[in-house]
Point group: C2
Chain length 686, copies 2
């Protein structure tokens, strides 16, 4: 079946993502913001035209209101006659809204509706050639009781399923409602997904934003998205204030609309990413857009009102363009958290909203990539919601099951290990069987996995400048390690040699231990054994382990590159390669075979028929994925297997397992090596 | 004596200020940033020219290097021949550096110097027509021992005083050095001031910034500025990274130089206010300056290197212009703290630096205005360094000396009192003699002074989203009040009526109490009496007080406007007016007379001769101020008195008492009414 629209997730960061959304042959990149075009004002003096929105500001999607068009005789006739695109002189993607917001703004409360039937307005949108129409849903205000909200929701869902019948070849937006009742928001999202909707706005949120209830907005988005799942492009209706955009994008909102650029301009207000200011309070511009680099505030103050509003609208559009670009850059480089943390400083209500993420750590973790670039934590009371923290604690839990360790030594402060002398001492201690632990805000970090994400990729404030509660948590996070150690605990400041560390470091033992520990941190416990034992066989001492591994290092940096084991007739069997950027392993096909044989959990099950292609090295498309282990996250090494359990290939997951299962388009696994790849080695069992 | 330069502080915010700096007839607004112009590159292909810096980017001050000019035969001859301004084709203000930084960069450490004598380079700068020359100071690195740093400092100070002899009509910059030794930094600043320098850069800080030691930079700035005092325009040498600028400006740095715009551009780096990115990592621009709105990253990537660097330089300059404009806007509107708090999220090292302000609260308080507009506290672990917090605690201390109070009632959460019903209940309780206290992050806030700055002007996150340590401090701040109360403590959530509050509110008593309490909070205790008793006479009950006051309220808002007392022959004597924006009083001349008569501490003592002008309503210039009470801060109501103790006028302080005493230019007090003002009433004693 040819679908009307297609949504592919290309890159992920937290619950946010870079996507490509295609409707009727037109494609836009998400997250994206559609300026609201008032059909009554198009062509008015000094008003921004749709063609200017596209050509000057680069907007390839706009939104306008079908209810307003339909209400005016002249506009209605023109739209039906010429079609919406010609009427607006705009050849990009056009979404239309339905009149729901008008029923909220101008209606006299519950029961009062606009003068058009739900199916009439959908048919009208279809007939004027809208690319994405919207159903006439019921706008449920946050103060609604559960019962009222449920009744509204039932009506919305009923209208949604009936509207799907008349949508024609237009894509149809079915909003999530439910007021401030999170169970209803989730139910609403789930029902919309199960109904087969391919686009969903989160509605009824403007009253929350108008009263700065951003924390509640966070709950509403998370509940709605939990119901909708990650595969449906999600629009946050009416989120025009720039300060909320990074957080909403990080939670997985893909589209935004903004009338604020024009509304603020009419009020003489000037937008920046963190706030708005009234023009009368400004004597210079903190921006250098084409408006601000040409005019001074005094110039604008002297202009006729319309001309001023026209220029302010354009500045506001440049400002929004900058914010949306920065959001996309941040999602691509894996720094959307940093942008969110920054937005916490924009307003106390935004701070509260970012703090609210504490309650949604699981939601964020579900779709966040396993590793990113270097990341920065400034306010640790906020940054501790990053998935890295919980994941590291869980991962280190399995680390401390290592058999071959004796006494614990603790380095007090993070950021102190990067001197040659300190490294030498630590290496000695570690290779002689001690636990060498660095105290970090992530938790106690074993020295030998310090190169592995996230320890050396994270940047924290100085220890002395942390809030007390963070410092107390860091101190108490050491306690389980202390109790689990076999001997004394040495606090070492990194200045003098610690006591009891004698002899030279055994480089080979140290490297072997490092490989084993990274493997176990990364792939976990498989069938009761550490993944290291699965790959290399059981071992009792690091010396024994070291004798079994062939570790190739970079000549230039000395860092581990490839891990092999001896094979038959003197050949080396390549199992793993280490990625420099995050210190984690990629699997070679023989490594994958060994994990698979032991019953590894990193499986993506595909239809046998398409699996044959993967076996030849082609990527896995989400629509062919039959099942996937729940713990798979973007960036994970995964085994591509058939329904009968055969291993087809090894590769890297592009998206989380849930998205892989629910998405109808896009790549789920980038295959690195297939079992029938010409370059892949043939199976061998040790 | 005609001075070469003049520095006037116009507006203050924290320790930062808006100033006007005039050198040889050219005036610039501060804070300001001077781009570094490399004399070897001026006129080079794609290089930004000085005239472009002025005309396109609005830079009315630049800095170039006299040592480099002097080293090259051709440049030296041209500079001596044509003069610096003609050579650079720039008619704004030009500062020159001396070669000190070159001795640090290229010298082989201590003792190694450039090949010019200290007096030669000063004379050369004078001869080529530099507006501000710089002495050849000793660049002291942060790792210097105290002894070495002291020796360097002695040399610098000796060169400084000798250079003052040869500076001619050029202004001379004498830097603060002292390495990482704060006693030496302070000594250095004090010595520079006592030597009579009119311009001082804080030097030797580039190594701190290069290694992200921003916390140490904060200490160095505060120590240097403490020595220099507030009257000398202060330049932070080499602070080109944009993220450090708001914090440095908030600490009182007035001038910055930046070579970074060009250096980053040469490395392909793109500056934004919070960081730099390499062009290769960008596929869109988060800015809309004339460069970024015309080109895409892909365009720049394809260009020849010089052309690309030229465009990146220009983008970086637009970016710096935006940041400097925003700093000035923030200082003017009183929101520089918010900008500093935002910069804490730019990098963990910046977070540490902002946290370091905890140790410099006294320094910030010394020059911060008494009130500002609505202010926002997002991260309270940081915002608690704002002067509002300590001042409020101190002020409330005197509040609780009110005689006429009984039982304590506590409202749990801030932000709950703004409903009509809640206000009515609180007013009833308050006017019947209870202590009604709102628990806020500022401390326990008495309900009747809730309109007075800073209680209702502050915006905080929701109670539930505060870090534990902040919430614990808020809870424990209530304890002294509880202990001081005469009866039971009632925790009231604002829902049902609290027990024991009966009868209607006595509006007159409530208003009178409010006036008395604001007066005592604002003007404190004078000669053992509350300022309210000084103004209105002693009182035992609010009823008694109310019978004595004539309180005029706004018809529209119902808020207090003017406070009068009955005078002879039925006339009313106007003592106070209430400012709507901060809920504090301005003094009328008769109010001032009463406070003065009781020995009030808000005195600015001026020369008798000039005091006669103030008595006629003219402003007080700093240079005529003989002494000023130490507690005077910008915005305070002050009594202008003569050396013999006569009251001349009442007005509003523009700057703190220290600046009033040390400044050689600018207005110290804006006089509102002088005793010989035609419109002022004649003296009357009650």
């Amino acid at each position: 079946m040819e679908t009307i629209s297609k949504f592919e997730v290309r890159e992920c960061d937290l619950a946010g993502r870079i996507g490509r959304f295609t409707v009727r042959g037109k494609t836009i990149e998400t997250p994206n913001l559609m300026p609201v075009v008032n059909p009554n004002i198009v062509g008015g003096e000094n008003a921004v035209t749709p063609v200017e929105l596209r050509e000057t500001f680069g907007h390839d999607i706009i939104i306008t209101n079908s209810y307003i068009i339909r209400r005016g005789d002249r506009l209605r006739e023109r739209a039906l006659d010429e079609g919406l695109h010609k009427m607006l002189d705009y050849d990009g993607m056009i979404m239309t809204d339905s009149g729901t917001f008008q029923s909220y703004m101008y209606g006299s409360g519950k029961g009062k509706e606009v003068d058009v039937t739900p199916l009439e307005i959908v048919a009208f949108q279809r007939d004027i050639g809208s690319d994405i129409g919207t159903i006439l849903d019921r706008f449920t205000v946050p103060s609604s009781t559960w019962e009222d909200a449920k009744q509204d929701l039932d009506i919305t869902l009923d209208r949604g399923s009936r509207s799907l019948e008349v949508m024609g070849d237009m894509e149809l937006a079915i909003p999530v409602q439910g007021g401030a009742h999170m169970d209803l928001r989730e139910l609403s999202g789930r029902s919309v997904r199960e109904m087969g909707a391919a686009y969903s706005p989160i509605g009824g949120v403007v009253p929350l934003m108008e009263s700065y209830r951003y924390s509640d907005l966070v709950d509403v988005i998370v509940a709605g998205k939990t119901g909708l799942g990650p595969s449906i492009p999600t629009h946050l209706f009416g989120a025009g204030h720039p300060m909320v955009l990074p957080l909403a994008a990080a939670l997985g909102c893909d589209l935004f609309d903004s009338a604020s650029y024009a509304k603020f301009a009419q009020d003489g207000r000037y937008m920046t990413r963190d706030r708005t200011r009234h023009l009368r309070d400004m004597d210079s511009f903190p921006c250098s857009c084409p408006v601000c680099s040409r005019y001074d505030p005094s110039d604008l103050k002297e202009m006729p009102e319309r001309e001023r509003a026209g220029l302010l609208s354009r500045h506001n559009l440049w400002s929004l363009r900058g914010i949306m670009n920065e959001i996309r850059i941040s999602l691509k480089e894996g720094t959307i958290w940093e942008m969110v943390e920054r937005s916490a400083s924009y307003h106390p209500a935004m701070y509260s909203a970012v703090r609210r993420l504490e309650q949604h750590k699981g939601y964020l973790e579900e779709s966040a990539p396993r590793s990113t670039r270097r990341f920065m934590c400034s306010d640790l009371t906020l940054s501790r919601c990053r998935p890295e923290f919980q994941r590291f604690t869980d991962g280190v839990g399995s680390y401390y099951q290592t058999p071959d360790h004796g006494r614990t030594m603790i380095l007090t402060d993070w950021g102190r290990v990067h001197s040659t002398k300190v490294e030498e001492v630590l290496k000695r201690a570690s290779s002689s069987g001690d636990w060498v632990v660095i105290r970090t805000p992530l938790g106690p970090a074993p020295y030998d996995i310090e190169d592995m994400y996230p320890v050396s990729q994270s940047v924290f404030p100085q220890p002395g400048s942390l809030p007390d509660e963070v410092m107390e948590d860091i101190v108490s996070s050491m306690e389980p390690i202390r109790q689990g150690s076999n001997g004394e605990m040495v606090h070492w400041t990194g200045v003098d040699d610690p006591p009891g560390i004698e002899g030279a470091a055994n480089e080979a033992s140290f490297l072997a231990l490092k490989v084993a520990n990274i493997v176990r941190m990364q792939f976990g416990i498989i069938g009761g054994k550490g993944a290291d034992e699965v790959l290399f066989g059981s071992w009792d001492t690091t010396r024994e382990l070291a004798s079994r591994l062939i570790i190739k290092r970079s000549r230039r940096t000395g860092k581990i590159r490839n891990v092999m084991v001896p094979g038959p007739d003197g050949k080396e069997i390549h199992l793993l390669s280490l990625r420099a950027e995050d210190g984690m392993f990629t699997l070679k096909i023989e490594g994958a075979r060994r994990l698979h044989g032991a019953g590894s959990g990193w499986r993506v099950v595909v239809e046998d028929e398409t699996g044959e292609y993967n076996a030849q090295g082609y990527n896995v498309f989400c629509k062919f994925v039959r099942s996937a282990d729940e713990n798979i996250r973007p960036g994970d090494e995964v085994l591509v297997v058939g329904e009968n359990g055969d291993l087809f290939a090894v590769g890297k997951a592009t998206v989380s397992s849930r998205l892989m299962l629910e998405a109808k388009a896009g790549v789920g696994v980038k295959v690195r090596e297939g079992v029938k790849d010409k370059k892949a080695p043939q199976p061998f069992s040790p």
